[in-house]
Every structure is written in C-alpha cells, then in structure tokens.
C-alpha cells in the first residue's frame, strides 16, 4: 500500500447540505417538455411551416393588388406569371390572393372547430369525470350513443339540410367532434381527482369550479393541447372533403377545399389551379400532425429520463 499522509485520516468537515444536495439539476415539468419537443426535428419543421403559413395567411392577400373576388374574364386560366404569381382561375381571379384568403378561411374553420370542441369537451368530460357515479355514467352513455353515429355521414347530412355556409360547417363538425376531447379530459380528471393536492384543496373548502379550473384542468393541459392540435388537421381535411362534394362554403368565398374541387376537373389543362390549394392542404395537415405528434411524444412520461 502506498504511503498516505496521516492528515488524510482526519475527519472531513461534512457540509450538511452536501448530503441532501440533489445530484442532477431538476427541470420543471414544462421546461423538460419543451426541451424534449425541441429535440424533435420533424416537429420543429412543423412549427416553422406553421409560422410561415400564419404569416402568409395574414399578409398574403395584401401582397398583390388583386382581391379574391374580382373577375377578369379576359385573363382567365392563365398560367403563373410575374403578374399573377399563382396564375388565374376560370373567372380570371388571382389564384395567389384566393389561396391566401382560402388559408384564412380554412385555418379559421380548423381553429374554430378545435376551440368549440375544447370548450364543450372540457366541460362535459370534466364534469362527468369529477362527479363520477350516476352522473358520469349517464353523461358517458350519451356520449357513447352520439359517438356511434358515423361522423362524416352526420356532417354530410347536416350540410345538406341546413343552409350552406361557414357557420353550418363548423356546427356540423363540432356536433360530435367534442366527444373525443371529452373522453380524454374525463380520463385525466379520473386519474387526477384522487391525487392528494385535490384532497387538500377540498379540505380547504374549495368549491367544484375552483378545483376544476385551478387544479384539474391545468394539470390535464398536456393531452388537451395534443388533442386540440390534432383536431385542426382533421377539420381541414373534413372541410376539403365536404367542399369536394359541393357542400362547402359558398361563392365567392374561397376555401382551399372549394378551390381544390374546382381545380380538380381542370387538372390536366390548368394544373396550378389544383396544385396550390392542394399542396397547401397537405402541408398544413402535415405541419399540425407533426406538431401534435411532437407534443405527444414530449409529454409521454415513459420517455422521461
């Protein structure tokens, strides 16, 4: 054994705090989630695309001297040029402007559907989960029965009956769309309501509304956000689908769906009329999907550490 100086065997001054020091810096929950999200390259691509999209949706129509409804039959069906960057449609309207106007409409529909689903779903699922017992059973039974109605069929039917238009479309989409969100929220509430801090809040005399809004909902934020993010591409898809069937927004309003359905028959000769709205539909759905996936992965507790 090598020679060790005798002083080395004197007791070390133990810093009490040393013992309790946690050896790895602990991140707050959301910081951890965001750092994991940032590592997901695909999700970042999605965010970038989304930002670009929003920017163009807001500023796009202002970039040209055209508006979305003025017709100019002399310049119908022109290919993209320096005057009309995306070309013109069969009524001579500028496709570029219409595309970004359409962006506003399609994104609006998506967002509106998601928000309405959110509000109804959170209330329904939150109350159902928190109340439990017979109330829960009943509310979920109603949801189940409504869920049994095939979504797209219902949407189509409603569009046929009611006056076509933006409002009807959103109504049709949200009439059963909220059920998914309600189930997720209920699941979360069921998990969380037996946690101790809820018990603590109850002992302190907090009423239902307070417990719900201050404790249960904020802690369910993760799955709620993911579901919202994934509702939007679904809504955009449904809108384009409906428009293809001729049940979309009315002229002269343009949504990507109506533009695509008008562009489809003319695809062989004037491909740009389909190309731009169709590509944007795909890009938007793609972006929201990868963002939603990224959020879901970042929130997954099993992937932590």
């Amino acid at each position: 054994m090598q020679n060790i100086p005798k002083e080395m065997f004197a007791p070390a001054t133990l810093n009490e705090n040393e013992a309790e020091k946690i050896s790895k810096p602990s991140l707050s929950f959301w910081k951890d989630v965001t750092s994991r999200f940032k590592k997901n390259k695909l999700a970042i691509v999605g965010i970038v695309l989304l930002v670009l999209l929003l920017f163009m949706a807001i500023f796009g129509p202002m970039m040209t001297e055209f508006d979305y409804r003025t017709t100019d039959l002399a310049h119908a069906n022109e290919a993209p040029s320096s005057v009309h960057w995306f070309g013109t449609d069969e009524l001579g309207r500028d496709v570029f402007t219409r595309t970004w106007e359409g962006a506003r409409i399609s994104l609006f529909i998506g967002l509106a559907a998601a928000i309405i689903d959110l509000v109804i779903g959170v209330l329904w699922g939150g109350i159902s989960g928190y109340m439990g017992g017979k109330v829960d059973e009943f509310m979920m039974r109603v949801a189940d029965i409504l869920y049994g109605v095939p979504y797209l069929l219902l949407v189509i039917l409603l569009m046929v009956i009611l006056e076509q238009g933006l409002g009807t479309m959103i109504l049709a989409m949200t009439i059963t769309g909220w059920i998914n969100m309600a189930r997720i929220v209920r699941g979360q509430v069921l998990q969380l309501k037996y946690q101790e801090y809820v018990l603590a809040a109850q002992t302190l005399g907090a009423d239902v509304k307070r417990i719900m809004f201050k404790h249960l909902i904020p802690n369910s934020m993760g799955p709620i956000l993911v579901t919202m993010t994934l509702t939007i591409p679904n809504a955009i898809f449904t809108e384009s689908f409906l428009s293809y069937l001729g049940l979309g927004v009315q002229v002269p309003l343009a949504s990507w769906g109506t533009m695509a359905s008008e562009g489809l028959p003319a695809f062989e000769y004037y491909p740009w009329r389909l190309f731009f709205p169709a590509t944007l539909i795909c890009i938007t759905i793609f972006a929201f999907n990868v963002i939603g996936d990224g959020m879901r992965d970042a929130l997954d507790p099993r992937l932590r550490k």
Binding site: L42, I145, G148, V149, P150, Y151, L152, L153, L154, I156, L157, L158, V160, I161, L162, P233, F237, S240, F241, Y244, L245, G246, L247, A260, L264, F267, E268, L274, A278, I281, C282, I283, I285, F286, N289, V290, D293, R302
Partner: protein, 300 residues
Amino acid sequence: MIVSLILIVTATFFLMQAAPGGPFTKEKDVPPEIEAALNAHYGLDQPLYKQYFDYLYDVARWDFGPSFKYKAMTVNEIINNGFPISLFLGIEAILIAIAFGVVLGVIAALYHNKWQDYSAMIIAVFGISVPSFILATVLQYIFAIKLDLFPVARWESFMHTILPAIALSSSPMAFIARLTRSSMLEVLSNDYIKTARAKGLKKGTITMKHTIRNAMLPVVSYMGPLTAGILTGSFVIEKIFGIPGLGDEFVTSITNRDYTVIMGVTVFYSILLLISVLLVDILYGFIDPRIKLSGAKKGE
C-alpha cells in the same frame, strides 16, 4: 347499438323534413294539382308522425321506398346495384391497408430510431396528410394518363380496381402503420419480452410469437373506425374514377337532393358500420384471452 340506429333513422328522417321545400318543388313545370297528386301518391300529405312511423316500419322491413329522382327505381334497387361494387373496392382497400400498414409498422418498430424507422414514419405522415382525393387525382394523372399503366376510369377489369384501391387505402394504411409501430414499441418495453429473452428464445421467435401477437390487439380494435373511413373515402374515390358504386350514387343523390335515397343509403351505411363494430368487438374477444365473452370464472 340499436338505440344509435333508431336515433340515426329518426334524425335522418326529421332532418330531411326540415329541408326547405318538398322533393317536387324544384321540378320545372309541375302544376300545383299534379304536385298535390304526387304528394298524395307518396304519402307526403300525411301528418308528420304518421309518415315517421310508416318510415320506421318500412325500414324494419328493409324497404327504403322509391327514389324521387329516378322515377323507375327504388332505393333498394339503387343500393343493390351499387353496393357489391363498393364492397369489392372496400375490401381490396382494407386488405392493402392492413397488409402494408402492419408490415411497415413492424419494420419501423424493430429498427427503432434507425433509418428504416424514420423513412417508414415519414411515409406514414405523408399518407395521413394527403387527402385521398388529392392522391387519387395525382395517381390518376401520373399512372393512368401520363404513363398509361392503368386504365383511367370505370370498372371493367381487375386492373381498373388497383389505382382506386391504392388511393382509398393510403390514409388508413398510414394510420395502421403508426398504430402498429407504437403498439410494437409498447409491447417491446414490457417485462415479458425480457422474460422471453431470458429464456434463450431466438430473436425471430420472440418477435413473431410474443411481440407481434400482443401488438396486434389495438390494430384489431381499429378495424371499426377503419371501415368507416374506407366507407366515406369511397364517396370521392368512386367519383374520381367513375366507378358506379354506392358511394358515387350517394354523392349524386346529395347533389340532386334525392331525399329518399339520401335517407336510405344513410340508414344502410349506419347499419353496416354498426355491424362491423360489433364484429370487431367479437373478434377482439376471441383474440384477447383477458376478455371473456361468456363470463368464465377466475381461477385462484
């Protein structure tokens, strides 16, 4: 389930009634007396509740009434003509979606975080992001019109079925691929896979006999929504490829506001979907031993 069905029939019926005007209002040159006679003939002048119950009764007897637009045909005939075609297309699409989706998902999971995983998942995301009718158009343009490899439209030979089936199956296939992958990854993280390895079983054996069998459970559950997706997808695909299936008829009836057809096909579709969900539940009960269909006793 029956409740849902009755709800659908009722809702459909009253919704149709709520539509402005009667089915004959849009017809040109129909003098009011003839319109009245037509209404009487079709029982449209009866009180509403009577019409409702008559309709329920008819549906129960599988009689969906006459078409208001195609004067010589009944709704039943329209369904009978179109459904077999749509069924064939649908089954073809389902098979493609399952076969390719599962294989893609399994490969992605087994090569997790390697290039096979990434490429498979990128393909899947695109499959989900591109609406089927856009894909259908593109496929039609590239492979039928430009490359002349497939017929462009109509329903005459097996070759006619390929492009539409592919277009129809793209979204579901992508979804199944992702579902299979995440299910496989979840199963692989389970302890019993560790046990299987500790037993010295070969990697391939473990994958086939332990991993895949357990990973398939969520995929089987998905078959219900899958059927619904294929069904609604058929509306546009049939239209684009000129296939005379039920979906195409349905779309036409919507455009024409042919109410009895709309109602009848809606009810028919709903029955179809409810049956398929039921079948899937039964199938799942067979595959997962933890679900006892007939309530066996638990051992101790």
